[in-house]
């Protein structure tokens, strides 16, 4: 079965899945800060794990391991293979 690429919010991605950052739903101070930490458009992003209580999550992007909250991750649209 061929891989299908779908757009999905980063907050909904499962641990271990990866994709390409496609767009930011709205740009605010948090997305600005995230971009400065390397969460940039077209950058490859990997969801490494989710906290034991379900939130926040750790993503690996641009060589950085970053912890972000799910409500911030819901702002980021990712093109992911399912």
């Amino acid at each position: 079965m061929p891989d299908i690429e779908t757009k999905i919010f980063l907050s909904e991605m499962k641990p271990g899945s990866e994709g390409i950052i496609f767009s930011f739903a709205n740009e605010n101070r948090t997305t600005e800060a995230l971009m400065e930490m390397g969460l940039l458009l077209h950058e490859k992003i990997l969801v490494e794990r989710v906290a034991p209580l379900g939130d926040p999550m750790i993503v690996f992007v641009s060589g950085n391991r970053i912890s972000i909250r799910k409500n911030d991750a819901a702002n980021i649209c990712v093109l992911s293979k399912i």
Binding site: R29, T30, E32, A33, L34, M35, E36, M37, G38, L40, L41, E48, R49, A51, P52, L53, G54, D55, P56, I58, S62, G63, N64, R65, I66, S67, I68, R69, D72
Partner: protein
């Protein structure tokens, strides 16, 4: 190159250390300046300014360690301080980059170096980069960026001599030629940095280590992550508690022994009493905190330095954000059950200013060990020893007091998070640093610094308040004091045997305390504390125990002429026999006892905590707010329970 001129005079240069958090900037700072550093203030803000200096080839170099940041677009007060200093093109900058995370490191670097400052680039953590299979072509990178580069391994000290050499060279020439090649907005900069790194860095992917990922699989495990943390925390506090015990006893013993030695040399009287009770007891009271501070920061620095503390924040964030706190607040809050002083100091690891202030404000509500003697005395006095449903009532009361402390602390946090305004952004993005072995040099430096700050800065305030409290309890209107002396002088003459003289001495002390200014204050506040079920005797103890909560027991011992504060049984009996003259009932009824317990659970009866709060926030505002809200809470709770149970 020899920079010293023939006359041998020393030239001076001043440099600022900048870089991302976790880049090993502090290690570089420590390696450069050694113990020759001090902590000061940036004007007008509460951010610590760390400066140090060293001499190399007749040049004296003053180094200032700036707060770590990821960008010139600051989001906190600490970052703002760094940005404002870096904006001055006259300032010399040593930029410390993490070799294993060059992309992000060079982003902040590009923002700094475009202002045309003299910049020296330090590539730190060569060992971790090596583990990850990262190979850097230093000379090519240096020529492309237009700066001098030094490769340093701050863990081993490798490259530090070269850094000192190049510091002298780079910062003694005029302005560097600005050959900035990275510019534009965030994504443009990142693109240019990527292109640059493609030319200069090779990644040997077969060597790539995913050690951090594997360790995280265990330490942040879905089911075991939090229990593991709690076990670790329990072990840490158990060790802090038990290891501090004997050095604390030793310090207390030392100061008491010295005090009594000196007391024999100096003639009896005010000077003697001042020296023994303020200089020795007061200094001892400051020094006694050192073991706890040292051990707590030993463990906290290890947790921080290895990278585990960031995971604690990650795991606990969901719970603590509900209360307006930070995942890292768990450390100060739990340390608070031992002592609020080191606990408040440990809140420094919380990056967000508002969350740090709230954590510090509510930490003293956790029942600290100094409350235990008060709790034990009052519980023994008013709570029956019977058992209900298999629980001892006394033990249950103690447990309830601890729980009330925790719950109130969390509720107070919610309250403060609603009312404290902040200009800082409330956002949570955190780098999860690579796991690494602790750097012992840094850890001992932190312990040394914390102890120094406490002893010097908080110690001054504690001694000053001790003198005031001593004055209040030792002095009173002389006419009354003379009357007491006269009354007893006859009895002293008639007394036979040491036993009797001792007894008289205890009685005279009790009467003098009642006649003292503290005693007068105790009488004066009686109308205010009467609705809580207390009399003037309790009033004196409340005032005196502002020095430290456990002083309550000692003051009670003096008031009730028991003599020795270790004689809890004796104090208890005397308090039990105390009858309220107007009602004819026991003064320490169940209602008054419960009221007193709650009062001590909530009241800010600790000058050391207030002193450390002042030191950490560098503002009189927060200790005052803390004192007022806790006193109000204590009064309200004590009043309510007394009126309901009465």
């Amino acid at each position: 190159v020899d920079f010293s001129d023939s006359s041998g005079t020393i030239s001076e240069i001043s440099v600022f250390l900048a870089g991302n958090p976790n880049s090993g900037k502090s290690s570089v700072f420590n390696l450069l300046t050694g113990l020759n550093q001090k902590v000061g203030n940036y004007p007008g803000v509460t951010v610590d300014k760390k400066t140090g200096s060293y001499r190399h080839n007749n040049i004296r170099v003053t180094v200032t360690d700036l707060p770590g940041s990821y960008s010139m677009n600051y989001r906190s007060k600490d970052e703002q301080v760094a940005s404002e200093i870096l904006q001055n093109p006259q300032h010399n900058i040593i930029y410390v980059a993490d070799s294993s995370a060059l992309k992000r490191s060079l982003y902040y670097f590009s923002q700094i170096s475009e202002r045309g400052n003299n910049v020296l680039l330090v590539l730190n953590m060569a060992d971790i980069a090596d583990e990850k299979g990262i190979e850097i072509n230093y000379s090519q990178l240096a020529s492309l960026l237009g700066v001098e580069i030094v490769s340093v391994n701050a863990r081993t000290g490798e490259g530090i001599d070269e850094l000192k050499e190049k510091t002298n060279k780079v910062f003694t020439v005029a302005q560097r030629k600005n050959e900035q090649i990275i510019c534009g907005n965030t994504s443009e900069r990142y693109t240019q940095i990527s292109n640059l790194l493609q030319k200069t860095v090779k990644i040997n992917s077969t060597k790539t280590s995913d050690r951090t990922y594997k360790i995280d699989n265990i330490l942040t495990h879905k089911y075991f992550g939090i229990p593991l943390f709690l076990i670790l925390l329990l072990l840490v506090f158990q060790s802090v508690f038990s290891w501090s015990q004997w050095p604390m006893n030793a310090i207390e013993w030392l100061f008491t022994e010295f005090g009594s030695l000196v007391s024999e040399i100096i003639p009896q009287g005010a000077v003697n009493d001042l020296v023994v009770n303020v200089i020795f007891a007061g200094l001892g009271g400051v020094m006694v905190f050192i073991p706890q501070i040292a051990f707590l920061f030993f463990f906290i620095s290890i947790l921080e330095d290895t990278g585990y503390m960031a995971r604690v924040s990650f795991m606990m964030d969901k719970i603590f954000r509900k209360f307006g706190l930070n995942g890292r607040s768990v450390i100060p809050l739990i340390s608070g059950t031992a002592c609020a002083v080191p606990a408040i100091m440990s809140a420094r690891t919380i990056g967000n200013n508002k969350e740090r202030i709230i954590t510090m404000l509510v930490t003293p509500l956790m029942s600290c060990s100094a409350r235990l003697p008060v709790y034990t005395l009052i519980i023994a006095l008013v709570i029956p020893e019977s058992t209900k449903y298999g629980f001892g009532l006394q033990g249950f009361t103690l447990l309830a007091l601890y729980l009330i402390g925790i719950i109130t602390a969390l509720l107070a946090a919610v309250f403060f998070s609603k009312i404290i305004n902040t200009k800082e952004d409330n956002y949570y993005i955190m780098e999860m640093p690579e796991y690494r072995m602790p750097r012992w040099g840094n850890i001992f430096m932190t312990i040394y610094e914390k102890i120094k700050i406490f002893v010097v800065d908080a110690g001054k305030i504690i001694i000053a308040i001790s003198i005031v409290l001593w004055f209040l309890t030792y002095y009173g209107p002389s006419s009354q004091f003379n009357a007491i002396e006269e009354k007893y002088s006859v009895q002293f003459k008639n007394a036979s045997g040491e036993e009797e003289i001792k007894k008289l001495q205890i009685q005279i002390n009790a009467e003098k305390l009642e006649a003292s200014y503290a005693g007068m204050l105790g009488h004066a506040i009686e109308p205010v504390i009467e609705p809580l079920g207390y009399n003037w005797k309790t009033g004196i103890a409340l005032i005196a125990s502002f020095a430290a909560r456990e002083v309550f027991v000692g003051t009670m011992a003096t008031i009730y002429s028991v003599g020795n504060s270790d004689n809890t049984q004796g104090i208890k009996e005397k308090m039990e026999q105390d009858i309220n003259v107007t009602t004819g009932e026991k003064t320490y009824s169940l209602a008054a006892g419960l009221s007193l317990l709650l009062f001590y659970a909530f009241a800010m009866q600790c000058m050391s905590t207030l002193a450390v709060m002042y030191r950490e926030t560098k503002s009189i505002k927060w200790p005052v707010i803390q004192f007022l809200y806790m006193t109000f809470l204590a009064y309200f709770a004590a009043f309510t329970v007394y009126q309901l149970v009465k």
